[in-house]
């Protein structure tokens, strides 16, 4: 390891590895494991403090409300946002993006367009596809190079005065590519196009400074950054926040209602209809606290390093094809073993306690473009080690032999 960061120490923070000491968990892009600190926060709340928020006058409820609201500030601080009131809680990246898409639906006129990239997760593709179809707008796609990078020279011509939004992923969940969102945002803003950044794979892995970047919307999920399932974040720039409308209607988002009409609260409360997932949000808060105990620089170095080493070793073997070869990348690698279906690779690795993912990783169009029906993906986190890479390469050699 080329730096001070010690994954073996970090590993102790995660109860799952006490229960499965041999587990090589390389499916972090799907969902990360959760540290003690996050689990304790949730179970403490459930056992000692559980109450719903925003409407109770008793101690449990007001305490819960205060802690729930405080997580907005924590999240804002993590991503360098203006303040806590730029942060809406959702059930995940998918919902965050759908909220924005649903709000932009009514802004689209026939002939308008929305620009996305060729390496988007389905969550950042299908919502745009649906609203474009419904409103007679078109979906334009930034192409991906063979190396797995965005063809940004095409951006100039793809965006025009009918472009209503640009939506792009910060880090590809298949190729690991770190896209130059700062440049993309500059170009979008030159053309007055608002931009949504899908940070599902970058939050908790890279330092994000949303205000410096200038992103108008940013979406991510707690469960991919050491937090619980069922909780996500939507950041909206204060300038754009008023253009967001509820996707769900119900209690808690209302200024006033009678049978004829309804007035809504302001962002972010207008987006949080229904009883809040208090445990989930507090768990997210604890995940943010945990991330802040790690040095962001070291985290991405470590994950980048693991990916680089894995690619090198895999390519040396001669029977492995790695998808793409982006210059800037995070800890995600997709590959195939020649002649063996990814499922059969994954099943084999599973028998060796190596958890990886096989399939299209919810990015079908990218795989089609890369000419693979499916692939195996390994994705790294702070608790993964170089030693685990070696064990994986060994297992891949066995796979090849098994299917020879």
């Amino acid at each position: 390891m080329s730096h001070t960061f010690n994954p073996l120490t970090v590993r102790h923070d995660f109860p799952i590895f006490r229960n499965h000491p041999d587990l090589i968990y390389f499916d972090n892009a799907a969902t990360s494991q959760r540290p003690e600190r996050v689990l304790r926060e949730i179970s403490d709340f459930d056992q000692k403090q559980s109450a719903s928020v925003h409407r109770g006058l008793y101690e449990l409820s007001s305490h819960a409300t205060r802690r729930y609201e405080a997580v907005r500030d924590k999240v804002a601080a993590l991503i360098g946002a203006e303040n806590g009131s730029t942060i809406a809680f959702t059930k995940g990246t998918t919902e965050s993006i759908n909220i924005v898409a649903n709000s932009f639906r009514k802004r689209l006129k026939p002939g308008d367009n929305i620009v996305i990239s060729g390496m988007e997760h389905h969550a950042n593709l299908i919502p745009w596809q649906m609203i474009c179809k419904e409103m007679g707008a078109s979906l334009r796609v930034i192409p991906v190079t063979k190396e797995g990078e965005l063809s940004l020279d095409r951006l100039q011509t793809l965006m025009d005065h009918k472009t209503r939004l640009l939506a792009v992923t910060h880090v590809s969940n298949v190729l690991g590519t770190i896209n130059p969102v700062d440049e993309i945002i500059l170009e979008a803003h030159l053309k007055q196009v608002p931009i949504l950044v899908d940070a599902a794979q970058s939050a908790g892995h890279l330092a994000i400074h949303v205000k410096k970047l200038g992103a108008d919307f940013l979406a991510f999920s707690a469960h991919k950054m050491f937090g619980p399932f069922g909780t996500g974040v939507l950041y909206a720039n204060p300038v754009w926040a008023p253009s967001l409308h509820p996707l769900n209607f119900g209690g808690g988002i209302i200024q006033h209602v009678d049978f004829d009409q309804t007035e809504f609260l302001e962002y972010p409360r207008n987006l949080e209809a229904g009883t809040a997932n208090v445990s989930g949000v507090l768990g997210l808060g604890a995940a943010v606290d945990y991330i802040r105990t790690l040095d962001a620089e070291s985290v991405i170095h470590h994950e980048h390093f693991l990916a680089t080493v894995f690619k090198e070793k895999a390519l040396q073997e001669g029977f492995i094809r790695v998808m793409g070869n982006p210059r800037r990348h995070a800890g995600i690698v997709a590959f195939n073993v020649n002649g063996v279906h990814p499922h059969d690779v994954a099943s084999y690795l599973a028998s060796r306690s190596i958890a990886v993912r096989a399939g299209h990783h919810c990015a079908e169009p990218l795989l089609q473009y890369m000419n693979e029906a499916a692939s195996v993906r390994v994705s790294f986190s702070v608790y993964n080690t170089a030693d685990e890479l070696d064990r994986t390469i060994e297992a891949l050699k066995e796979v090849k032999k098994f299917w020879a």
């Binding site: 007001s62 409300t65 200024q255």
Partner: protein, 143 residues
Amino acid sequence: MNELDKLYPPTIREHNTSPFHFEQRKDRAVTVRAYNPICGDRFDLFIEADTGATNTIYFHGFGCAISKASASVMAKSLSGKARAEALRLCNNFLDSLDSDSDEALALPEEWKAFQAVREYPERRDCAALAWAEMKKYLESNPS
């Protein structure tokens, strides 16, 4: 009983029972609605221009002891004040509900009664209700 005496000191109880300028003045004044959707508290604030550059404030409506007393203290504090001065007072009052410092010592006697909500944040909105609406009004109508 201690805890409640703290949340509801005599000033609040008195203003709740005998509020200042508590009357319907819709026809003679600019009316501003102060409404808390969470609890249903709803007051109309009446801003009557005096012959000089000052206003007299009345209010009417329905709310808990804290929101009612707070509106009452507001009507008393702002009546006869010029708009700029009234706005300054709104800001001061609202700050006093949030600040953690001991600046409370310098507050007008009747304002101190609301200091307890700093320990009952679920009641902060009650204390702020009328003042926050008045502030918004004064900001968009500076003269």
